[in-house]
Symmetry: C2
């Protein structure tokens, strides 16, 4: 049975919060066993828990905040536009991708694909 | 060779304009041979030109306008959030999905998947 929209929404909210302020392990805990990560779309797909953990470890210690702009849920999938703002001293780096996720019956993330490219990074 | 971001952007712009104000045939002309349409995500995938034409014929004669909110391009794919506003007398019906498309080398649409559900329709 597909997860309810409410369950999917909770996972997306938790994802955005933990990406910004949680540990890499907390982010990975939102993923199902066997999950895949393609970020950005077109790059090599990460297929192991270790590779996904490594991916999120890179941003783990940054001073960040994240905000959900738009979330659309359909079936057991979701697409959402969010912004991740990283503070680097007096500077901020904003990246606002559109992510597409599929979910298992428990609302865990089965796959994540992030749509963005270098031009979408804004330094201010 | 993957199409450039500029080529993809042009197709997305043309898509949004023709969906709102063009004919169904004009929309279908933006699709590659063998293209697929899944709208909304989770529904049956349309795999023939006839089925795709039928899909767009339904909204062909409506008084509509469309606006692109956010477009993210990665590799030969794009995700974009746009709003389609249909005028029904004094009423307006707004649907603002996130669409995901893949493109062939010429920038024609190979696949379209639309993320939205009934709750995303706003009548005003």
């Amino acid at each position: 049975m597909a997860p309810s929209a409410e369950v999917i929404r909770k996972t997306v909210d938790a994802y955005i919060e933990t990406v910004a302020t949680g540990t890499a392990a907390q982010v990975v805990a939102l993923y199902a066993e066997g999950a895949t990560v393609e970020d950005p779309v077109g790059s090599d797909v990460r297929t192991t828990r270790e590779a996904i953990l490594e991916f999120y470890s890179v941003i783990e210690n940054f001073d960040q905040e994240a905000h959900l702009q738009t979330l659309r849920i359909a079936g057991n999938e979701a697409a959402f536009h969010f912004s991740l703002i990283t503070k680097l001293g007096e500077q901020t780096l904003t990246i606002a991708p559109i992510d597409v996720m599929t979910f298992d019956d428990d609302g865990k993330i089965l796959s994540m694909r992030a749509f963005w490219n270098q031009e979408d990074m804004i330094s201010a």
